[in-house]
Amino acid sequence: MSIKSLKELPKEEFFSSGHRMCAGCGPAICVRQTLIAAGRPVIMVSATGCVEVSTTVYPYTSWKIPWIHIAFENAAAVASGIEAALKKLSRDGKAKKYDVIAFAGDGGTFDIGLQALSGAIERGHDFLYICYDNEAYMNTGIQRSGATPHGAETTTSPAGSVIPGKKEYKKRLTDIIIAHDPAYAATASIAYWKDYMNKVIKGLDAKGPAFIHVFAPCPRGWRFPSNQTISIARLAVETRYFPLYEYENGKYTLSLDIPKPKPLEDFIKPQRRFRHLLDPKNKNILEELKIDVERNWERIKKLCSL
């Protein structure tokens, strides 16, 4: 069962307006697309972060599904506990076995949440983990994370006169997860709603642990006008910066080939977090970022051809 058009999707949503996420928030779009794709009630476990904090300011909640937030680093561990409980309780006829989705940002996944996620996948729990990637610890004020790209400015990797932006490179998290051989894994972008929403369905249907890494731009943190969120999410793919692919049954598959990529400058220019890279004295950093993007693309293409 896959989604072919928007018209066929139900109008009623499990997520309501009135949440406090910024105007133009990428993760907010991700939440909506996720729950519309699911099309049925799920139990969601959210890690601490932008989505969690902005959607549940007591006594207001935007959620119309059973929703749990425990802490920052353990969305996958909490989801494991719920999945096991529902497995047992439904066996005894005491509870309905809903699908469990763990929803966390790049902070709660790439870095502090990596251990719990790795453990949950190794144990084979039947759940879907979605990482919405806005490439920094946005909720606490735009500090760098393992997902922040090389050269980007964040409050803990400022574009200073001696060190202009983040020195390190973006962690290849999806491939770390794929190395665990999950039931399903994929990357996605909120600009490609059909691709993402069908991946959500595949992730929910998969028997065992599933993981989706979603590119969800942040107008506030990346400093671009709030109406550009989808455009930037599209450019990330069109410049090969964020390849879209899937992993199933030991095989990588490219979701969208980009034979003629747009220049990386198209992606960089609208975002003030990269502005210093357009300065000629930082030319080498921009080069390094381009090389990193190409290397990653070539690596993914090679894996998809095996």
Partner: protein
Amino acid sequence: MSKLKSWKELPIGGVILEAGSSLEYKTGSWRSQRPIINREKCIGCLFCWIYCPDSAIIRAEDGKVDVNYDYCKGCGICAAECPVHVIIMKEE
């Protein structure tokens, strides 16, 4: 908003029992510009609906769309993504 509740009146454990209660919080007051849709030219593709972060695009009976100004924060994504450019952003 009504008077804040005492500890005796709250559900146990800080749980929120009323699903979707954030609807009481009208984020429409946040915006500094509002989208205006030219309904006649709207092709009902629903891209604005799927890209709105706030579920502020209403899918009308006729297959076209309207804006829910109670919650629209004026981000402008709908106008930017409309393939036939029939949404314009106007200063409040």
